[in-house]
């Protein structure tokens, strides 16, 4: 345990659950009650049919994270919940930038930014074009800083998505449930 227990760190909490409408409310309440901010939240399907996956990022102590995961796992519709540090996961975020079209032609530097950041042009319309960038938070922030002086019409960034390096033993668990 040691220092990890009392120092704030980034943790990714992965929650496998039944698809239930009220569950998001239940889960967010667990954070609200303890004044722990959800830094990012993503809900999607998982590798198992009809099982959803919540990916929640928090910046807090391991002690709190462990307790929160315990409370989350206690919810009836939650199958299992795990938490990992950044080192233990592969994670990404996605961002979209909407930029005025004339900049693409008037500002040579824009094209370099697109290339240097390995971002994709999603669409080009008469008035605007849209860039997509997937990567770590800091990479998206860097690209944002580079584009900002030219004017960004709209910007949005997704929640973190992540997979753990180690196995999350969830399929086996589900199989075990079904055998009962």
């Amino acid at each position: 345990m040691g220092d990890n227990n009392i120092e704030n760190q980034w943790f990714t909490i992965s929650v496998y659950s039944e698809n239930n409408v009220g569950l998001l409310n239940r889960i967010s309440g667990i954070f609200l009650k303890r004044h722990i901010n959800i830094e990012s939240l993503n809900v999607s399907k998982s590798e198992i049919n009809n099982v959803s996956k919540f990916t929640i990022v928090v910046h807090t102590t391991e002690n709190w994270t462990r307790k929160i995961v315990g409370q989350i796992e206690k919810q009836i519709e939650v199958i299992r919940a795990f938490y990992h540090t950044d080192d233990e996961t592969i994670y990404q975020e996605s961002a979209l930038f909407k930029i005025a079209s004339d900049l693409l032609f008037d500002e040579r530097q824009i094209q370099n930014i697109i290339k240097d950041n390995n971002s994709q042009i999603v669409t080009v319309a008469r008035d605007f074009f849209v860039l997509a960038k997937t990567g770590r938070r800091f990479e998206i922030d860097e690209m944002y800083e580079q584009l900002a002086p030219y004017g960004i019409m709209q910007f949005v960034r997704s929640g973190r998505i992540s997979v753990s390096k180690d196995e999350m033993q969830i399929s086996a668990l589900l199989q075990e449930f079904q055998h009962h």
């Binding site: 659950s17 039944e18 009220g22 409310n25 239940r26 309440g29 009650k33 462990r66 307790k67 315990g70 409370q71 796992e73 206690k74 009836i76 519709e77 939650v78 199958i79 589900l174 449930f177 079904q178 009962h180």
Partner: protein, 577 residues
């Protein structure tokens, strides 16, 4: 009625029939063995009440005078009987009035199913008359909740509700049913729920953890057991007793664990916590192995956590994995149902006596007796004490009564001095501290154990929070005994004001009505005692009565409850005065 009987027979055979959602709800309740529920009708639940009318020979509905009363009555019923309590209410204010009872049942792990009516599906989200988002509101205070919007969902969801409420660590479940689903028809068939795949109700005991626990216990010089309600909920009273006796370990209880072991058992050393006994609190910080069984280290038990049993190895027997190391670090965690884990532990334990260690508890008890207990239960001063009233009840009831307490000074005194021989005899609002709990809970407790004496002990403050439930006692002639310990104050708050707020008695003085006349207004036999010479006979008369009975005892206005661990202090800093 003949056709209804036929219908039921057919249902039992597993055949399907087409009935309304409202009628299906009744069949579900009957299939779950429910024969009594508490509630209050209103617009959005009327189809169900219409069916209750038709089924009144099989299912008794008690009309409480407020929906909060319905929840507490259901809780009292559940706590005394070990069965699931059921409460019903309409949408909007009916539903919101359930919230306090839900929160109380959630924090005290009481199995309860609440059914609420809801506006029809097409009106959801339109701010319709008596529409409220009870699912959103009740989410933090329920073990599970669900909104049914089509009749076809009713059997499966209600089966799941009962399973979830009573399995594992029990708790309250709320099912909200839109009015259209009550009117719609469905092909009805009922199957009891035996499992939910995402929910592991009872973790399997780990053999290694049990062995590690046994090794610690067998090598301990000063072991100490603190048990909680988990023993009662797990029906593990016999297993606890066998363990305590074989290992010879002094054992104390949390307020929710009271009555699981005979009060006068030689190894029962009393209550832990803020107003618990002196020895168990002090010696928590001297034991070398602390064995916690079915309890959750509430702050009222631990005092300042940094100084709680830091010298001890902690073994935690617990059904809920989220409780492990939540407040107090567990060196060994034994997950599982207490009945099962204690039975598995027993053969691994060596016979022991720990006599000198046990003598430490006796010494501390003597100190507590001389400075506190003697004056509480055998006072020599003029005014009546709460403690002597409890002692008279012990004598008159031969320690066989179910004691239902409210919240405050009388609750602490009640739990300290009531003596129990039988489990499930101490019904109180432990975790939430809900004033107004006792009167309706006593109604439920009596109906859950008609063969037992039920005595509600209530302060003058809490009594007036749900006093309207006297109407239920009168209407249904429910023979509960009600004792109001009247000090004309909100006594516990007043005590804190005296000790910690320099006697600034802000809003704690109560100018009370004539409680005897109020009881008499409900045609309940009533008496008031204000002098010691009248107490014994009044209590005896009350216990001897086979009818509802109200007894007001005018007690000393400014008595304090001691011992006391001031909030923020360590258990070993417990004060005797």
């Amino acid at each position: 009625m003949e056709t209804l009987k036929e219908m039921k027979t057919e249902t039992r055979k597993g055949k399907t029939l087409k009935i309304s959602g409202a009628e299906a709800i009744i069949h579900c309740l009957l299939a779950e063995g429910v024969d009594l529920l508490y509630g209050y009708p209103g617009g959005a639940i009327m189809p169900v009440y219409d069916e209750l009318y038709k089924f009144q020979d099989k299912l008794t509905h008690i009309l409480t005078r407020h929906e909060q009363g319905a929840t507490h009555a259901a809780q009292g019923y559940a706590r005394v009987s070990g069965r699931v309590g059921v409460a019903m209410a309409t949408s909007g204010p009916g539903a919101t009035n359930l919230v306090t009872g839900l929160a109380d049942a959630q924090i005290d792990s009481t199995p309860m199913v609440c059914i609420t009516g809801q506006v029809p599906r097409h009106l959801l989200g339109s701010d319709a008359f008596q529409e409220t988002d009870i699912i959103g509101i009740s989410t933090p205070v329920t073990k599970w909740n669900y909104q049914i919007t089509k009749a076809s969902e009713i059997p499966e969801i209600i089966a799941k509700a009962f399973y979830i409420a009573k399995s594992g660590r029990p708790g309250p479940v709320l099912i909200d049913i839109t009015k259209n689903a009550q009117f719609e028809e469905l092909m009805f068939s009922y199957k009891k729920c035996t499992g939910v795949r995402s929910y592991n109700a009872v973790p399997k005991p780990d053999k290694k953890a049990l062995e590690a626990a046994a090794t610690l216990i067998n090598s301990a010089q000063k072991p100490f057991i603190v048990w909680g309600q988990g023993v009662i909920l797990g029906k593990a009273e016999e297993e606890l007793k066998a363990f305590v006796e074989k290992a010879g370990i002094p054992a104390a209880w949390t307020i929710m664990g009271a009555s699981a072991l005979d009060t006068e058992h030689p190894l029962n050393v009393g209550m832990v916590g803020m107003h618990g006994n002196y020895g168990p609190n002090i010696l928590t910080n001297e034991c070398d192995v602390l064995i916690a069984i079915g309890m959750r280290f509430d702050d009222r038990v631990t005092g300042r956590l940094d100084d709680y049993a830091t010298q001890a190895k902690v073994i935690h027997f617990e059904i809920d994995p989220a409780e492990i190391s939540k407040n107090v670090h567990a060196d060994v965690a034994v997950l599982g149902d207490s009945k099962e884990t204690l039975a598995l532990l027993l053969p691994l334990i060596n016979v022991n006596k720990h006599e000198s260690w046990h003598n430490r508890f006796k010494e501390k008890y003597k100190i507590e007796f001389d400075t506190v207990i003697k004056n509480d239960i055998h006072p020599t001063k003029e005014g009546l004490t709460m403690g002597e009233v409890i002692e008279e009840i012990n004598i008159a009831s031969q320690q066989k009564a179910v004691i239902v307490t409210d919240v405050g000074q009388h609750q602490m005194i009640g739990c300290r001095y009531a003596k129990f021989r039988e489990s499930k005899s101490n019904i109180t609002s432990g975790g939430l501290g809900t004033m107004g709990f006792a009167l309706p809970a006593a109604i439920g407790a009596k109906q859950g154990a008609m063969d037992r004496e039920v005595v509600a002990i209530i302060g003058d403050g809490g009594y007036q929070m749900t006093i309207q439930e006297l109407g239920v006692i009168f209407q249904h002639n429910i023979p509960v005994k009600i004792v109001v310990l009247n000090n004309d104050h909100l006594g516990m708050v007043r005590q804190w004001q005296e000790l910690f707020f320099e006697k600034r008695y802000a809003s704690t003085v109560m100018v009370n009505p004539d409680f005897v006349k109020i009881a008499e207004g409900y045609h309940i036999e009533a008496k008031r005692v204000s002098e010691r010479k009248d107490l014994k006979s009044a209590v005896q008369e009350m216990i001897a009565s086979d009818k509802p009975y109200f007894l007001e005892v005018k007690v000393e206005k400014e008595d304090n409850v001691f011992p006391m661990i001031p909030s923020g202090a360590a258990v070993s800093e417990i004060r005797l005065k």
